[in-house]
């Protein structure tokens, strides 16, 4: 265990036994404030649900044409940027497999847009909330002191050593978490929405700049795919971190708002 954690633990133990006053930022009264506010908890799980619906249906749609292009147009007669080496649900698409996958495009498209609407509205509510409630400033924006290489290095190295966060750390996000969440909320999600809209022939008729800026309709489709991959990578790391930190305790905190035993404050 590193010196930093040891000292933090010592402070906590001292707090337990000797009732030394602990700064409020480290350990406020546990009962009153939930780990996550109700709005954050509800929007988190709606987002989770929508994300899985979008992921599954997105994969189904890609299966009908697992070829990606750059520029305005692309079809089986034009060169690809890259192909995904899977069989397709369309016989016309040359994949090298003698097998045509079942076609699931119809309901996939319906569900993809339904989930997208719910996600956009939920995301809008969340973003308005974090901007006006102080959540953004208090919990997501890194403080000036945090933006140092040392703080970043600590944040990176600790999970790599499989060290569980201390109780105090479990109540806030370190600089790496803050930067990642900000990137996902303010960059990746807006980008995945923009690249999705840039594929819509009706939407771009009213707002042609959305697709022209991205270099064309097929470029938008390719970028939509890449941003989705980035979001999936975030999801994998996010779940891995939750597993490392204590799965049930963190999941319970996100469902009920109450912290798990290992996160309890004194």
């Amino acid at each position: 265990m590193c010196e930093f954690c040891a000292s933090r633990d010592t402070i906590r133990r001292m707090g337990d036994t000797a009732s030394i006053p602990v700064p409020a930022s480290v350990a406020p009264a546990a009962a009153a404030t939930p780990r996550h506010s109700a709005l954050v908890r509800v929007t988190h799980w709606i987002t989770t649900l929508c994300f899985f619906a979008l992921l599954v249906t997105g994969v189904e749609i890609v299966i009908s044409h697992p070829r990606f292009y750059w520029g305005e147009t692309g079809n089986i007669l034009t060169p690809t940027l890259f192909k995904i080496p899977i069989p397709s649900s369309r016989a016309l698409v040359p994949t090298g497999y003698g097998y045509v996958m079942p076609d699931q495009n119809g309901w996939s498209r319906y569900l993809h847009f339904q989930a997208a609407w719910l996600l956009v509205l939920t995301g809008l509510l969340y973003v308005i909330h974090i901007f006006f409630s102080g959540h953004l400033r208090k919990k997501l924006l890194p403080s000036k002191g945090d933006l140092s290489w040392r703080a970043l290095a600590t944040a990176i190295v600790k999970p790599l050593r499989f060290q569980r966060p201390t109780a105090a750390e479990a109540w806030s996000y370190n600089v790496l978490q803050r930067l990642t969440y900000l990137f996902v909320i303010l960059v990746l999600f807006p980008l995945v929405i923009l690249t999705g809209l840039a594929m819509s022939p009706a939407f771009v008729s009213a707002f042609p700049l959305t697709v022209n800026l991205l270099g064309g309709q097929q470029s938008a489709r390719t970028l939509h795919f890449f941003v989705s991959v980035a979001l999936v990578l975030f999801l994998l790391v996010h779940v891995l971190m939750v597993l490392l930190a204590g799965f049930w305790s963190r999941v319970r905190a996100m469902i009920t708002g109450r912290a798990g035993a290992d996160m309890e404050r004194t």
């Binding site: 498209r109 847009f113 609407w117 719910l118 022939p201 939407f203 008729s205």
Partner: protein, 252 residues
């Protein structure tokens, strides 16, 4: 019950009631202004209605992007199609001189047009993209007569809301609202890239709706019906697409 929780309960109740009323009023208004698609029922109806309503409000008069001659896809692409029937082959052998387009429904003068008649009307060209819901796309120059011109000839009743269009292919039909039917880029297309419209691309006559996906651009058009309700057509979902699991509105 403490004051705070009672206040919370009342606030939540009022907010919920306002929300339910708001949704009800919105649904009524949407229905009144033609913002509800015919396939609005079922579990995906909410998403479809939101997409259609918001795009109708945003894109009523917007034009699909047009491209330059140099951007026309080479080689030209044609998607797979079902093998033509014997009746189609006979028409094709005759150079489609016997091909007819009939228009009926809510019009003053139900009429039938030959290809030669359609070609005698002011001809328009547009270089636009056709994109499939699957992901592929191509750009071509489409030549034809604007549907609005032909609808003007037959005299559409003011209460008309949709134009249903039918293919020579059995059971293949679709429909669009008047915003798309009267849109200047919606063509009855008979030419492509300077020549005749190839059969593989829907020749001799294809409905071209460039603000919607490929499958709304039905090939081999033979018949149009102008109507104020799609309930009596097929299963009442607006086209053959929702019956096969695909959305009626394909502006996406």
């Amino acid at each position: 019950m403490s004051d705070i929780s009672r206040r919370k309960l009342i606030t939540t109740g009022v907010a919920a009631a306002a929300g339910v009323t708001g949704v009800g009023v919105a649904a009524r208004l949407a229905q009144k202004y033609g913002l509800v698609p015919p396939d609005h029922g079922g579990i995906y109806g909410i998403g479809e209605t939101l997409t259609y309503a918001s795009q109708r409000l945003l894109t009523t008069h917007s034009l699909a992007r047009e491209f330059s001659q140099s951007q026309i896809s080479k080689p030209p692409f044609a998607n797979e199609m079902e093998p033509p029937t014997d009746a189609f082959k006979r028409l094709q052998a005759g150079g489609f001189v016997d091909w007819r387009l009939s228009i009926d429904g809510m019009v003053d003068r139900p009429s039938t047009f030959s290809l030669a008649q359609l070609k005698s009307y002011p001809s328009r060209g547009q270089i636009t993209m056709i994109q499939c819901e699957e992901g592929w796309s191509y750009i071509a120059e489409w030549i034809g007569v604007p549907l609005s011109h032909v609808l003007g000839l037959v005299g559409v009743h003011p209460q008309a809301k949709y134009v249903a269009y039918f293919s020579f292919q059995p059971d293949w039909w679709d429909s669009m609202d008047m915003a798309d039917a009267l849109h200047p880029q919606t063509f009855l297309t008979y030419g492509m890239n300077g020549g005749e419209l190839p059969v593989g691309n829907g020749g001799p006559l294809r409905m071209r709706v460039p603000r919607q996906l490929g499958y709304k651009n039905v090939k081999f058009i033979t018949h149009l019906t102008v109507t104020d309700s799609l309930k009596s057509f097929g299963k009442g979902l607006g086209s053959a697409s929702p019956e096969g699991g695909y959305a009626w509105y394909a502006g996406i």
